[in-house]
Symmetry: C2
Subunit: 400 residues, 2 copies
Amino acid sequence: MSELAAKAKELDAADRLAGLRERFVLDDVVYLDGNSLGALPAVVPGRMEDVVRRQWGSLRIRSWDESGWWTAPERIGDRIAPLVGAAPGQIVVGDSTSVNVFKALVAAVRMARDGGSGASGRDEILVDATTFPTDGYIAGSAARMTGCTLRPVAPAEVPGALTDRTAAVLLNHVDYRTGRLHDLPGLTAAVHAAGATAVWDLCHSAGALPVGLDEHGVALAVGCTYKYLNGGPGSPAYLYVRRELQDRFDSPLPGWNSHAEPFGMRAEYEAAAGAVRGRVGTPDILSMLALEAALEVWDGVSVDAVRAKSLALTDFFLECVAAHVPAGAAESLTPQAHAERGSQVALRCPGAGDAMKRLIENGVVGDFRPPDVLRFGFTPLYVGFADVERAARVLARILS
Amino acid sequence: MSELAAKAKELDAADRLAGLRERFVLDDVVYLDGNSLGALPAVVPGRMEDVVRRQWGSLRIRSWDESGWWTAPERIGDRIAPLVGAAPGQIVVGDSTSVNVFKALVAAVRMARDGGSGASGRDEILVDATTFPTDGYIAGSAARMTGCTLRPVAPAEVPGALTDRTAAVLLNHVDYRTGRLHDLPGLTAAVHAAGATAVWDLCHSAGALPVGLDEHGVALAVGCTYKYLNGGPGSPAYLYVRRELQDRFDSPLPGWNSHAEPFGMRAEYEAAAGAVRGRVGTPDILSMLALEAALEVWDGVSVDAVRAKSLALTDFFLECVAAHVPAGAAESLTPQAHAERGSQVALRCPGAGDAMKRLIENGVVGDFRPPDVLRFGFTPLYVGFADVERAARVLARILS
């Protein structure tokens, strides 16, 4: 056994989260793509069977009440809340991340504009220049429909780019490509100090590291649930609206589910109080209840412990890559500093597309981001240190 | 056996669609709420088990390609297309009906405005004054965000209300409360002749009667899939964009799934060609593939035959109600004329809320619409004439 393999064995033996792997359906593949689609929690298939056969098949329409379908968006939101540092009553689940970015960003512009003297002149939205594309596309539409211009800015340069014309700023907590973790507390404070509203996209951080939405004064945030939250393919996204801003949350998608009296069937719209205001249409119950079941894997799990293991995993992967992969064959895009690292490692190398194909053929699943990036996500709930060592060894063989 | 019970038996014996009931999971309840939540198709539980355990659990991320997840929105759209009289390539599935109303209505305003001389002055949206509320709420937001005013108009009065300021008109094919079927061909022609764009909501017609989207020149339409299409609770809605208008479909929700090159991860948005342009974010695969399985119940089924049976069912229900229920105890809001009737019967009566509770306790499931309406939906795929006679008998007992 090599020195690194022995170290992996030691690290796995000392890993207090190691037992969580049993909460998932896994095989002998090294699955480092949980930052794209989380693995299947073992509890989900049985739950879905019940949802389909009993709740839908037998109870039918009664399930909206008796099986708790109607309140699922806010109930599941409350289940996500502790994972992102939010008290209950501030998160609703539903729609895609893109749709939630639209809701949040338009609402952010409206909040900034109703914020006092001169606020109505705010006509610029800043967006992370390195964002996952959909956020930029949706921000473009939000800008167009609120009479704003859109300006892409690197996250680190946001503080210097803020002016009294800035209405809203859309930022990613972790860069989807490089895995860089941005300074959520500092940037939020800077944006809010400038009288603008920050919207955070948590897709690549929630479930992998502490977010601290309440603690850091975040106004609005969105995220998907199919990465580190393991909700299943395309599972519904979520929207966080800080409690004291909920009365000012003015949604561009005021569907009947956000009405103060949804079954009153009234012609006039009146927004519900609370986070429910972020709901739109009828929730997709099958996807939503699969997510609810999937969140049970978090029972008794501390996000701080997950973060500690995540950093240990990525540290160890970088160590193994440095030891196994020939110098110069691959360059890490992921910051060395823990404070700047999410839960993934991105390696730039020539022929990355082919290399990822061969990795997958050899039982190591990550993904390829054009033009030249190998992306490896580390889900602390089910990835171990021996997996990491094996992945680096296979990678080294392929790149040699 | 009463005369009507004997007639029901004859009608059931002659019903060529009667065998379709076996394609559903049903019990001895008379389920007349399929216009709210369709019954469970028998094929769905096994399919969901495969989707969850094999596609997600074993193939994981590979399923986006190998299990056809990525193309599900347009593939399932093509499966719905013949049910609403559309050739392939014009429907995508995804998001809620409310979100699709927003996409369609904003796009409709933009289409009307780019329609030639003077078109940019169009600043009014007409909306069905009797609409299901969410359409009105969303239309209000679409109006606000496109600089239009919103004017509620009874559908029959739309032709007289059209002016050269009308940008778009949002209409329901069937009124959710009364079951009245509106004149889709005539109203579409009137709206388009006035240089505006009509958007049709098909929630209460698709799967119950022929719609003829292509034939009648419809520009844009949306609908849900959990009523007569039996897709499951909150299953994804769909959006129809007429082929020759697709290049002019300018979505307010241009998520990455609608990009010409979604995996190019490009910062600049470029809309895809075709109906795919109506997609937004990552599709919710579990709900979507349950819907796909559910649509298999339509194999070999003619929508014309469904319509004929639907009318026979509602005729017979009205006949049984007239025979059994004391005169004056309930008044039908549903038109007598076939050309004006959807697939439901709405009865107005005092104490409707309590009456519906007692109906349900007695094995007849419909729903209650405040303040005083009993609503009964007739799904020809699984409701028979004996069911209808029994429902009317139980109703008569309760109202007597």
